[in-house]
Symmetry: C2
Subunit: 338 residues, 2 copies
Amino acid sequence: MSQTYNVAVVGATGLVGEAMIELLESRGFPIENLYPLGSDNSAGGVVYFNGKSRRVKNVADFDFSQVQIALFAAGADVAAQYAPVAVEAGAVVIDNSSCFRDEPEVPLIVPEVNPERIHDHCGIIANPNCSTIQMLVAVAPIYRSAGIRRINVATYQSVSGGGRKAVEELARQTALLLNGQDIDVQVFPKQMAFNVLPQIDGFDDNGYTHEEMKMVNETRKILEDDDIGVNPTCVRVPVFFGHSEAVHIETREQISALEVREMLQMAPGVEVIDEAVDGGWATPVTEATGKDAVFVSRIREDISSENGIDMWVVSDNLRKGAALNAVQIAELLVQAGL
Amino acid sequence: MSQTYNVAVVGATGLVGEAMIELLESRGFPIENLYPLGSDNSAGGVVYFNGKSRRVKNVADFDFSQVQIALFAAGADVAAQYAPVAVEAGAVVIDNSSCFRDEPEVPLIVPEVNPERIHDHCGIIANPNCSTIQMLVAVAPIYRSAGIRRINVATYQSVSGGGRKAVEELARQTALLLNGQDIDVQVFPKQMAFNVLPQIDGFDDNGYTHEEMKMVNETRKILEDDDIGVNPTCVRVPVFFGHSEAVHIETREQISALEVREMLQMAPGVEVIDEAVDGGWATPVTEATGKDAVFVSRIREDISSENGIDMWVVSDNLRKGAALNAVQIAELLVQAGL
C-alpha cells in the first residue's frame, strides 16, 4: 500500500484554506489524517473532508509533530509565529503568505516553472504571490525560448485576493447601491463596487506598492535572473474571483506571436484561448473561475517595439494563484520523499 | 451685445448628447437657439435646456443652414451621412465619432494639447477617442519636456463608453446575479457584471482591436509625431462612468517623478492626486465622475528602465472623454470666429 501523510491546514476556514482542502480531496492527495487549524476566532468550527466533518483546532495548541506537511493559508503574522514551530516539530511547511518568500534559503516554487527547487528546502517552501504565479506560468516558456529583458504588467485583481471580508464588502456595497442606499467602506480604502482601485497593500519608498514589488522580486527569484526588469501596476477591480493581467514582454531575441501561441499551447498549466473574434478570449467569470489552468489570450506582437509580445493572462487567484499551487508543491514534496 | 450662435446637437438623447447639452448650459456657451436632433427612434422626445423643454427633431429632416455649429454625438454611420450635409449647409461640425478622425484635412483636437489646429478646419473637426483624450492631457506636458519614445497603456474603461444600452446591461446583469438569477448577454460578448472583458470594438489584422489602434493613430496625429510607439490593451471593466489607465511612458530624456508631478500640477486640465498613503489616488467613482479634470495619480519612476515614468490616469469618459472636449472645441471655434 502506498504511503499516506498527515497534513495540517492552517487557516482552514479562510477562502484559500477552504480551496486547499477541496483540492486535497479532489486531487486524491494521499492523506492519512487532515488537521484543519485556525485562530481563536475559527477554532471550534467545522470543515468537511471526504464526506466527514472535522473540527477546526486552535493552531496555538496544535502539536505539529503529528503531521508531515503543514499548509499555511493564513497571514504573514501567523506564518511568522507558527511556521518555525511546525518546522521544529518535524513538519515541512508550505506557506502561502509573503512571510518567507524573500529568504534566500526558502525555495519559492511554481511547479510548472521551477519544480527542481523542491529539493532545496530547509523545512519551509514559499508559495508565490497570486499575480506572480499566473504571470510566470505564461511567461516562463517565452523566457526559456527568447529571453526576457523587461515585463510591463497591469493587473485587474479580484476582491477575493483580499479575503472573505473583501468579497463580502463588494457584495454588500453593490446591493446597497442597486437599492439606492448609502454604502460604507471598511476593507477597501474607497468604494469598491463599480470602481477600480490602483492600490493593493501598502506603499514602498519608490512609489510602488508592496504587491507590485512582490511581482518584481518574486519573478527574479523564481527565474533566478536579477537582470529581468519588471514594472507592475496592481489594481483591484470589482470582480469576485479570478485575476487578469495585461502583460507586455520585451524579449532578448525576436519571437513571433505565432511561435508564442504554439509554445503556450504545449506549455504545462496553460490554456490558450485566442481568436480575433468577438469573445475569443478568456475572462475571470466565464473561463477561469473554478479551473486549474492559466488562460492566455490576446497574444500579439507589440507594434511599438522590435522585440515585444503582448498577452492577456487570466487565472483563478484562489486556485492556481494560491491553493492549487500550494497543493502542487505538496505533491512535488511527496514525489521527492519530503 | 456679444455674439450668440445657433447650435445643433445630433444624438441629443444619448449619453454624450445629454452631457453636451448640460455642458453648453453650465459653461454658459453663447447660444441663441439649441436644436436637439436624433434618429427616427428619438425624434419627438424632449430635452431640457436653460429650464425650457425642446422637442428633438429628426436629423434626416433638419435644415442645417439654420445653425453655425453642429455637435455630432452619434455613431460613425450617422456622422458619415449627415456631417457632409451640415458642412454643405454652412455649419461647422464637431464630430465625436471615429468617422473623420483619420482624414488628413480634419483636425483632431484636444484643446489642452493642440488648440492651434482650430484654424485648419475645412468644416469638420474631430473629437478624439475618450481613451486618447485623457491620456494625452496627462502625457503632452511630459512629451513637450522630455520627448516620448513609447507608451504602454492598459485601460480600465467604463461601460458608459458603450452607450446607454451598455450601462443598462451592467445594471441588469448585476441585479439579476445578486438575486441569484440567470443573466442574459446582449450588448457585450460575455457577462459584464463582476467581470473584465479584454476587447473593445472589433479586431484589426495585427491582433489589436480598433479601440487600441485608435489610441495609436490618434496619439500620433494629435502630437504630430509618427515616431511615437503606442502599445495599448483596452479592457472593459464593470464601472458605470469614468475610464482609468495604467500608463507607462518611455521618455527620450530622463525625467524624475518629482519633475513630472510638478509639471502636471501646473498643466491645464490636470488635477494631481498622488500621495503614497492608503487612498491617496483617484478613482472613477470617488474623484472623476461628473468632474472636468483629468486626474493623475501613482506618478513614479519605472524601476525597470532608465527613462520610464508610470502613472494612473482617470477621467469622466462622457465629459472630458467626449462631451466636454467637444464643447471646448466649440468654444475655441467661437474664439477663432468660426
